[in-house]
């Protein structure tokens, strides 16, 4: 198991930067936010798989820029979700899938946070983030700072735990049924 975990760690950590450096989106971001970008990766040869990891303090600024810049015009937040990597120090990775309806290109933004560490909300940039962030809070327990209405969305208010965390058993804590 440990071996597998380590393999996961190294695979996930960094992609191949060099292939993406020519991308206009990357160039632009490097220019404006030179210190906000942590890493660049993405599945080749798909241009819509460009993934940029940014610092969490900068996320709202970066998002606002991506939305407002006329050449990038990421006016549409497709999806926002969290992924749990319990073995990492910053265990949650929040993934933003951006799309531009006018330019028809995609971008994936990522930030990492520690357990319980608040992350600034992007509702100010895209209203649609509201429910997505509530869902991430509900299923993974990621608190979003500046969210106007952060409460559980899919599960009842009195639910214990956050089911999408890896340590959460498949059948739930209080189930008498044996897991598969």
């Amino acid at each position: 198991m440990d071996e597998e975990k380590r393999a996961v760690e190294s695979e996930f950590a960094e992609g191949d930067h060099s292939l993406w450096e020519d991308n206009p989106i990357v160039k632009k971001l490097r220019e404006i936010f030179p210190e906000a970008i942590i890493s660049i990766s993405g599945l080749q040869p798909y241009p819509d798989e460009l993934t940029i990891k940014v610092k969490k303090e900068q996320i709202v600024k970066v998002c606002q820029f991506l939305k407002d810049d006329p050449h990038l015009a990421f006016n549409y937040l497709s999806d926002l979700c969290g992924v749990d990597y319990p073995e990492r120090e910053e265990r949650f990775e929040i993934v933003y899938h951006l799309y531009s309806i006018t330019k028809r290109h995609r971008l994936r933004l990522k930030v990492s946070v520690k357990d319980g560490e608040p992350l600034p909300s992007v509702i100010g940039v895209w209203q649609t983030a509201n429910w997505h962030e509530r869902e991430a809070y509900d299923l993974l327990g990621i608190p979003f700072e500046g969210h106007p209405d952060l409460r559980r969305i899919l599960l009842p208010e009195d639910w214990e735990g956050h089911p999408l965390r890896k340590e959460y058993p498949l059948m739930g804590y209080n189930s008498d049924t044996k897991p598969d």
Binding site: E4, E11, F12, N75, S78, V83, I101, Q127, T128, Y168
Partner: protein
């Protein structure tokens, strides 16, 4: 004397005839006017995303059928396509065409359910039965192809489970030939009817700007005038070889969304016609390893499902089971904008609005 007035809190659902499943709406009313509303979801939450982490990649295909359960083929397609992207699998052309034919038929079936239930909510009970009559024919076709009417589980990584049976072609041709006349029947009952117009025009309006900001997709956003359809914008499968139009509305009201979907049914008929004519012979499944083990990495892929942008984000750790599956369900996002549409409307507008955004709770709650 000053009388104290209070808002009336009306709890609509989760058991209500026209919330399309188990949606619960809290309505804050001033008389019958809606001051505020709060959709409460989760009554159908089955933890599908958690379940995915415990199943192998293949085992998850039938579970995607149960997301948007009235349009199972698009769900299959979106999931299968994402894993194919992750594994860089080639899909034979014939399989691509079969996928397109079936998803487009499913789009018609899904829109028929929407039209029937939407019209019934507004009081026109007969349209419902007419729509279901045609939908039955499509479901028969699905049963013929896949063995099940709704939970089809038909697409596989790298292709489809089986070729189309020979009896499929005459039946689908017959359906395609008779269907335009049926659409004319629905339109005779609704499109120009003064009551229908009164109930749908200028009701639950959402502007294009708000629509984008709130993440609307599919016919809901097109009703507001945004000409954005993933089939055209970022073509997948063989959509770039097919000729079809993207209908749009202007106002972004219930009526425009209705007109967009009606036209989409006609366009889907066109697409199926073309796809049947163009379909080449050949393999229906590409070269696929016996054990599905995508390399570590992540991929997001989306399709234009009948409800809007249906995307799968899959993180793989190189094992047989996905590390994380996130489903970008269009209904979930579309429902979010409902309070915006309802504000200032009447109770009767609530059901018109819910019907017009065409949500399926299986997909909202996952």
């Amino acid at each position: 004397m000053v009388l104290e007035t209070k808002e009336l809190l009306l709890n609509m659902g989760p058991q209500h005839p026209s919330t399309h499943g188990v949606l619960r709406l809290l309505l804050y009313l001033e008389g019958e006017t809606i001051v505020n509303s709060d959709p409460i979801i989760g009554y159908l939450h089955r933890g599908i995303e958690k379940l995915a982490e415990a199943k192998t990649y293949t085992q998850f295909i039938p579970i995607t059928d149960r997301l948007d359960y009235i349009a199972a083929f698009p769900n299959n397609l979106a999931y299968v396509q994402t894993v194919e992207k992750l594994m860089s699998l080639e899909v034979p052309l014939r399989a691509q065409y079969i996928r397109v034919i079936l998803t487009e038929l499913n789009r018609i079936a899904s829109h028929l359910v929407w039209l029937g239930t939407h019209a019934m909510d507004i009081g026109a009970i007969t349209v419902f039965l007419y729509c279901f009559r045609e939908r039955e024919i499509i479901l028969d076709l699905f049963e013929m192809v896949s063995g099940a009417r709704m939970t089809v589980n038909f697409f596989r990584f790298g292709g489809v489970a089986a070729d189309l049976p020979a009896e499929f072609y005459p039946k689908v041709k017959e359906f395609l030939d008779t269907f335009p006349a049926k659409i004319a029947d629905y339109e005779a009952l609704l499109t120009q009817n003064r009551i229908w117009l009164a109930r749908t025009k200028n009701v639950a309006v959402i502007s294009a700007e708000d629509g984008i900001n709130w993440g609307l997709s599919g016919p809901n956003l097109r009703g507001s005038g945004i000409k954005w359809d993933i089939r055209k914008a970022n073509p997948y499968a063989v959509y770039n070889k097919l000729d079809f139009e993207i209908p749009t509305g202007q106002m972004g009201d219930v009526y425009d969304r209705y007109m967009v979907r009606m036209e989409e049914m006609r366009q889907s008929t066109r697409i199926v016609h073309q796809a049947l004519a163009q379909m080449p012979d050949g393999e229906i499944k590409g070269k696929v390893p016996k054990i599905i083990k995508p390399p570590a990495g992540e991929a997001y892929s989306c399709i234009e499902s009948p409800k809007g942008e249906l995307g799968f984000y899959i993180v793989s750790d190189g094992s047989e089971k996905p590390y994380r599956v996130k489903i970008r369900a269009p209904s979930f996002v579309n429902l979010e904008a409902l309070p915006l549409m309802l504000k200032g409307g009447l109770i009767a507008d609530v059901i018109a609005a819910i019907g017009s955004i065409d949500i399926v709770l299986g997909e909202v709650d996952r």
